[in-house]
Structure formats: C-alpha cells, structure tokens
C-alpha cells in the first residue's frame, strides 16, 4: 500500500503512485468519504488506453454515480478484480486494497504536474470549507 506522501493527486481526488515501471491509481480517502458507501466501480478494460484528465470509469455509491478521471496516460495493464465482489474496499482501504487499476505510463514524468501530498491536503481543506 503506498503511503499518502508517496502519491500525486488530481483536483478530482484520484491518486497515482509509481511503483517500478507501473502506475497504480485509486481515489483518495477524502473522495471515498464524500461519495459515501460505494456499491459498484466500473473500471477501464485491461489493454485499453487512458489519458491524463479524461474520464475513465464510474463509481456508484448511495443513489449517485461519480465519474472518475485518470491521473496518468498510458495502457491499462491490470484492474482490481476484488472490487467486483467487494466494492466497499474503496471505503475501507482507498490507498490499499481499494485501488482501481494499474497503468504502464506513456510518460512517468507526466504525474509531476499533479499535486503532492502537502498541496493536496491544502486543497482538501479549502474544498471542505462551506
């Protein structure tokens, strides 16, 4: 499981962690809390292409569906099959067992444009203000 400090974050609350030559993607703890109880995750297909900032799937929670966006460009090399049986993994372990998919990044440096942990925490604090 990546440490939160080791991830980069989108304003739409997806995280990406580079592990060797692979990028792992999920949604942040803040996001799972706001979406509430996740009941289904529609993931991209293995072998498909995703692009930084573009919608690549849907999370459904209590009577609402939320698009999510890829924080990295490249080819999807794996998806979290465990979410089909237990979508609540997203709530219980958003940075661990609740990861979404893995990507072979087209350009690993691309994620440097995203927020680091410190900036993301500031962003969340600002977003949480009424």
């Amino acid at each position: 499981m990546p440490r939160p400090e080791a991830c980069r974050y989108m304003k739409s609350h997806e995280w990406v962690s580079l592990e060797g030559g692979t990028a792992v993607v999920g949604v942040s703890d803040f996001a799972q809390g706001e979406m509430t109880d996740v009941v289904y995750v529609d993931l991209p297909k293995v072998g498909g292409k995703v692009k930084l900032g573009l919608a690549c799937g849907v999370v459904e929670s209590v009577k609402a569906a939320f698009d999510f966006y890829s924080p990295v460009s490249g080819e999807v090399v794996a998806v979290n099959e465990g979410l089909a049986k237990d979508p609540a993994l997203v709530n219980r372990s958003p940075l661990g067992d609740g990861w979404f998919f893995k990507v072979k990044p087209a350009d690993p440096k691309e994620t440097e444009s995203l927020m680091d942990w410190g900036k993301y925490q500031d962003f969340v604090k600002a977003a949480a203000r009424p």
Binding site: A31, E34, T36, V39, V62, K63, A65, D67
Partner: protein
Amino acid sequence: MDAPGHMALDEAILELALPGTSFFRFYEWRGPAVTFGLAQPYALALACAKASGMACVPIVRRPTGGGVVFHDGDLTFSVVFPWERLSPALQVYERMHLGIREALAKRGVETSVAGFAGPPPLLAPPAGGGERSICFDAPSPFDLLGGNGEKLLGGALRRRKGQGLYQGSFRPERCRLPRRELEVAVAEGICAAWPGARPEPLDPAWFAAGERLAEKYGSAAWNKRR
C-alpha cells in the same frame, strides 16, 4: 420521445451545459417504459418489470444510479446543476426535495423528507424477490413522502466534471394536485433549490448530441452490460 432518447438527451445536457449553469425539463413519454440504475444488473430490472406486468416495454439503463423505476404515468423530470465540489449525494437530494416540499406546502400539500436509515439495498434482490430494488417500493434517505408516509418523489444522480444530473420521478396519483399544477410546483421547487435554473427551450445542439447518444441507450451492449 422514447426512453433511450430521454436518457441520451439528459446525458447530452450534462456533457454540454456550461459549467455553473442549471437547466431542467419535464419528459413527454412516447409510451410506458422501465429505467434502471447504472450499476444494476439487467436481469434484475427485467425480473422487476415482469413482476409488474411491464416486461414488454423498453427497459433502459439510466446514466444515473438508483433503482428500477416504472414510467407509467409518473411525472418525470431532470435537472442539470452545478456540483463543483465533491460532496455527498444526500446533500443534493435534501436540497432538491426540501425545495419541492416548500413549493407543495404553499399549495396546501403537506409532505416530509425521509430520514437517513442507512444505504438502500439497490443492487441485489433480497431473498425471494427483487421488490426492494424498485425505486418506489421503499423510501430512501431524503425521498419526498406524502402525509401517510408513502413515497411521492425519488431521484437518481450522476456527477461529471463539476456538473450534476438529477433524474426525478413523482407519482402524481399519490398527490391531490392536478398534474399541471404539480408540474408548476416542482419547477418552483427546483428553482428554489438551484436559483437561476432555467426550463426549456433547450439548446438545439443538445438535441443533436442526444440523437447521437440515443443509439447507445437503445443498444443491448449498454442495457445488458451487466
């Protein structure tokens, strides 16, 4: 317009409406239809439709979450609205339904908003049947209820790029207002919840985009994907 056309037009408006803007519209159905939630299995929707004698009408997967809805005389409407900051869906339902509750109260119709008692079991039927996967069989949190606790209005949501889509279904036979007056009250409630919300006429470009998307909503690849 048929069910695929309505779903497609709603998605087109969600996709193309400028950020920060709000629109709403009331459906005119070509005939009865059944819609079901984005994540629900088709087999479940079909079983619910069969059990209600509606197996022979179009059964279409919505772009929003939620349960199975029978469109057989309901007042159906949709709202596209700003949903910039990620926030719980229940807040949207509360805002929308409180607005409509106030508008109904002005007309002498007393309603209440259902309390929160945990998430509804929308995806799998309970043992012995699929009844609880049907939207109107049991209230969900923040649904609008009549004086006797009967569900009057339920909704379903989708969030995309800082905009939200709400699709609502109101059972007019459970409310003593004439249908036209009910429509006016719902519109007033929407505008109270989302100041600046505009009704039709909608942008012609949205209809064109909706026509292109209608093929998807009419396809087995979409409706039977689960």
